[in-house]
Amino acid sequence: AATAPGKKITARIKRTLPVRGPQAPTLSELMRWYCLNTNTHGCRRIVVSRGRLRRLLWILLTLGAVGLILWQCAELLLNYYSASVSVTVQFQKLPFPAVTICNINPYKYSSMKDYLSELDKETKKALETFYGFSEGKSKVRRSVDEWNSTGNDFFEQIPLLKFEDFSRTATDLRSGQKRKIEGSVFHKDSSIVNSGDSNDIIGFQLCDANNSSECALYTFSSGVNAIQEWYKLHYMNIMAQIPLETKEKLSYSADDLLLTCFFDGLSCDKRHFTRFHHPLHGNCYTFNSGENGTILSTSTGGSEYGLQVVLYIDEADYNPFLVTSTGAKIIVHDQNEYPFIEDIGTEIETAAATSIGMHFTRSRKLSKPYSDCTETGDDIPVENLYNKSYSLQICLHSCFQKAMVDSCGCAQYAQPLPAGAEYCNYKKNPNWMYCYYRLHEKFVKEQLGCQQICKDACSFKEWALTTSIAQWPSTVSEDWMLRVLSWDKGQKINKKLNKTDLANLMVFYKDLNERFISENPANTLVILLSNFGGQLGLWMSCSVVCVIEIVEVFFIDSLSIVMRRQWQKAKKWWNDRKRDRSGKPPQAGDLERQGHDNPICLDEDLPTFNTALRLPLPQDNPLPRTPPPNYSTLRLETAFTEQLPDTLEVGQH
């Protein structure tokens, strides 16, 4: 008894089922069926509506809704790769960054004398010739006089020139004679900012050694810049020839630089520092470099718990032409980062306590496809010449160095050596200066393509520094402080320290809050699908099922209908041909087809009673090859469903 009603309902449902999709005889029939039975709204209204205007309106509305859905979904897809930023603050024990400290002066002037005396003599001569400056009782001068000028050809090649801007004649430093200037003029100073017209312009000329007519003239509006630049050029040339070990010896040792050291309330010494040789700054010392595998951390903020060092800056041993300021340079960086001290260092004043409060921020960007950054730098086609983790600076410097080696044949002094290359010096590469300046100009104008190749790193750590200065030592404590520090320095120096030789530095965390700024994907697949669902539902109450229906109806079923018709046509055509071949009169077939287009009529059998009964009236059927209607279905449908009579028109005919 339990199954009987179930069966009944199944049977009823089977009966009430209208013409099914693929069984629909024609495309329009299929569409009608689809529209009546689909779950999407709108389509049904097209079929159900009466009156042309209404139907048209509904068609337009439905199409509009479809258009809106497509547009909105496209928008959603396009905006899929967007990121939202979140800022978190974590209070925790923080790793102390590496602190690299350099003396601004790279090498002890007294020990560099052997190498630089000739250059200094030349510089002094230039100063005397052009500006009437003479340093009467300078010991440098005296030592220079003792020296015989050997190998002066190099200085002759690139002399300092003083010339009038418009007459294009210059006074040579050596001969004092005027000479004509050929080649293009580069105003080193005024290439960016127009410096106005000053009469006395000093500069130097760089010529292509292979082709002496190719010359570039670098002019400066101020002699200070010109002499420093010129000095630096020759200085790099000289330094490039000195091996690294010698240079390290010529520079300051850890004992020289560091007088006292104090970290996290405990005393520290030179063993906590790692030497790092910088081409332009000589020996630098990195505190907490992590080289021995441990990275110190701070668990209390405040100046007492940070790094406190007293630096000894031997002002008397400074190179007068290379550096014109006194003090030290420091940079706070991550252990894996290369300290670009010449680019982003902070200067430390002497005779002062510099207190540097740090605030730690960690940032993280999303890499592709969200933004164009690189996680490790492996995907950048530039070899990392520095033995440190990737950064934009490293990439740019490496890229330039590579271009330099490629086009000039030697490497620039300030950056590390690529494999198999050596630093430029005038003896081996007489052309390098000209080449370097041209290349550098190209680099600055972004013609080398380095700026395009190099991408920024996705994650980076930043220590925001708040620097403030106090007088140190204070007037009342100066006396004992200097005495004790001199004693600390030991017996090596017999003289009492001067306060302008000392710098006190405190680097500490202001607070242990780590700010972490990270990008997160704003959209996930789940949310995207929800948004799709929302859009589909809003405009048409549609879902994936509807999409499948659409695919089914519009592609598979329509195709099958079309195919079926084609197949029947082909079959008919084949039959016709067969009939033609068999010698039947073609006209009869034609006539028959014209009169009765129904394939059933083409059956060879004579219509039986049953078939005749089932046959619909041919003229009423728009398309004749329909299967016989299911009358029992029709009957029940009229009985039970509330469909409007016009939807049943087809069946009733």
Binding site: S86, Q491, L529
Partner: protein, 626 residues
């Protein structure tokens, strides 16, 4: 009435047995539900039916899976941050100014006299190790009591295994040129036991400074607070000129606070008693301008070697932790500080683990005695002090005291220095404090752009010093000099705030729309569909209940039948058999000839079962089945 009716109906239904079956129910549901999939299951051919069944199941499980993800996302309480930058009228930050030196040397000299003589003698010994120099002749015998508690020693570590320890006063042996390791400091625990530690310093300068701080702390902690405040710098001596915007202010506008590190500190615009001042214009003209005198000649020589003013910008009603956040201003300069208020407004629990006012932090805030708000620094220091009081029995001089406790000094707590230094260097204790303190939800930082220039200029020097001296001391003598005078400008930058504020990334509205979106996307469903489904479940439960009851009834009847196996059929049974036969005909009579029959009437087929059992109750089942 209704309830009674309802119960009667329920009873009737129970008696009647199931009006329909599970299958019927399911088919009905599939046909009539608004969810998109099920309808296709029953409306398609057998192959497609299977596909649709499979698809519907797949979509349903997808929906549930994605719902799971969405709910998980919601429960992870993510936040999104929004950044706003601009200028608005804001409260001017509280400005704390202190002198780097806590007390006037002229005032504390009598207390530190012994100590100073001791350290001078020690320095003499260190610097000129040869005995028999002049200092011994002049100085009266030194009070070595202070020395013996914490002596300074020299440790010669040339021989790593047997370091030679030289007490500076006791052994007059010359250290010679072998001295590499500098001064060292020892501290012993109670009563000169063997429990000693040496605190090593590589630099004598540091050792001396640390030693002096330790000793002077102990001496000064015995002085009552009132006296200490008197010994420090007074507001009228320190703050020479003050201008806020266009309005003049003076030292009376500053609130005095005693800071253990820096003595008397003065806070401008603390907002404790009166409303905090607003600044509605950027630029130095509308900021605070101060002229301070730090009188460097009056510094305690061994205590602080750096000279300058210490200042700090902080929020109203918060305690200034100068050692952490303070900056220096150098004497003889004008320091301009452009301020950008960097705020981070976070949402509290459950979005992030921060505290709104510190009430949920398990550390007793000792700084609440200053009436200041909670901050992480206050929490850490309170945590340390609480530990110190617990372990060493006395509180450290630098931090406020819990009630009824005293600051440590050498007489009452001879071993405190040892206890303190071991506690201070203990990483474990620090970690406990870090773990138990929580950061505040609203984190405000003042980003400062600091620039300096020489001040006063040489040309204006004379008259400025003259006027300032005259105003302060009412005398025509110049009492100020370059080494003591500081000008400060504190002002808002053109953009004075940068606020990062958090908002919940996933609200309940978001969750609902996402859930709806998912359900709609896969199945075109809505909440109503869920309700429909729930209805079906209730209905099927009904069926189950009714079935179980009828099964029980059947079991009873069977037992009854078992007792009388050949019991004659009841009238009802006979009637049933009869009626069944009658209806059998309708079922089997689906002959092709029936197709010609006129359409059946437009009512659903009557529930014959119910009709049969209780023919009079026709209306009841109709309303039930709806």
């Amino acid at each position: 009435m209704n309830l009674k009716k309802y119960f009667i109906r329920a009873l009737h239904r129970l008696q009647k047995g199931p009006g329909y079956t599970y299958k019927e129910l399911l088919v009905w549901y599939c046909d009539n539900t608004n969810t998109h999939g099920p309808k296709r299951i029953i409306k398609e051919g057998p192959k497609k039916k299977f596909i649709w069944f499979f698809l519907t199941l797949l979509f349903a499980s997808l929906v549930f899976w994605q719902w799971g993800i969405l709910i998980n996302t919601y429960l992870s309480y993510n936040v999104t941050s929004s950044l706003s930058i601009g200028f608005k009228t804001m409260k001017f930050p509280a400005v704390t100014v202190c002198n780097a030196n806590p007390f006037k040397y002229s005032e504390v000299k009598h207390l530190l006299k012994e100590l100073d003589r001791l350290i001078e003698a020690a320095l003499e010994r260190i610097l000129q190790p040869t005995p028999g120099n002049s200092s011994e002749k002049i100085s009266p015998p030194l009070d070595l009591e202070l020395w013996h508690q914490i002596p300074l020693v020299l440790i010669d570590e040339h021989d790593k295994d047997n370091p030679i320890i030289l007490d500076i006063f006791e052994s007059n042996q010359t250290a010679g040129g072998n001295q590499t390791a500098g001064g060292n400091e020892t501290s012993c625990s109670h009563q000169g036991s063997d429990n000693c530690t040496y605190r090593n310093f590589t630099s004598a300068a540091q050792a001396v400074t640390e030693w002096y701080i330790l000793q002077s702390t102990s001496i000064l902690s015995k002085v009552p607070l009132q006296e200490r405040i008197r010994m420090g710098y007074q507001a009228e001596d320190m703050i020479l000129a003050c201008l806020y915007g266009a309005e003049p202010c003076n030292y009376k506008n500053f609130t005095q606070i005693y800071h253990p590190d820096h003595g008397n500190c003065y806070i401008f615009n603390w907002g404790m008693d009166e409303e905090a001042l607003n600044s509605s214009n950027p630029g130095a003209e509308f900021g605070l301008k101060l002229i301070l005198d730090i009188s460097q000649q009056d510094y305690i020589p061994y205590l602080s070697s750096a000279a300058g003013a210490r200042l700090m910008l902080h929020q109203q009603k918060s305690f200034p932790f100068l050692k952490d956040q303070g900056i220096y201003a150098m004497a003889g300069t004008e320091t301009s500080i452009g301020v950008l208020v960097d705020e981070l407004e976070r949402m509290g629990y459950p979005y992030s683990d921060c505290t709104m006012n510190g009430s949920d932090v398990p550390v007793k805030n000792l700084y609440s005695q200053y009436n200041t708000s909670y901050s992480i620094q206050a929490c850490l220091r309170s945590c340390f002090q609480n530990d110190m009081v617990e372990i060493c029995g006395c509180g450290h001089y630098m931090f406020p005291l819990p009630e009824g406790r005293n600051h440590c000094n050498n007489e009452d707590n001879p071993g405190w220095a040892y206890c303190y230094s071991s506690l201070r260097s203990s990483i474990g204790h620090r970690q406990i404090c870090i773990d138990s303190c929580k950061e505040t939800c609203n984190d405000t930082q003042y980003k400062m752009t600091i620039s300096m220039a020489d001040w006063p200029s040489e040309a204006s020097e004379d008259w400025i010093f003259h006027i300032l001296s005259y105003e302060r001391d009412m005398s025509t003598n110049v009492t100020l000099d370059r080494n003591g005078i500081i000008k400060l400008n504190i002002y808002f930058q053109e953009y004075n705030y940068r606020t990062v504020s958090e908002s919940a990334a996933t609200t309940i509205v978001w969750l609902l729309s996402s859930l709806g979106g998912q359900f709609g996307f896969w199945m075109g469903g809505s909440v109503l569909c869920l309700i429909e489904f729930g209805e079906i479940i209730i209905d099927s439960l009904w069926i189950t209940i009714i079935n179980v009851i009828s099964w029980c009834k059947g079991l009873k009847q069977k037992r009854a039948q078992a007792r009388y196996p050949d019991a004659p059929p009841t009238v009802a049974e006979l009637v049933e058999a009869h009626t069944n036969l009658g209806f059998q005909h309708e079922d089997t009579g689906a002959l092709p000839g029936d197709e010609v029959l006129p359409p059946e009437p437009g009512t659903p087929p009557p529930n014959y079962d119910s009709l049969r059992v209780q023919p009079l109750d026709v209306l009841g089942p109709d309303s039930d089945t709806e």
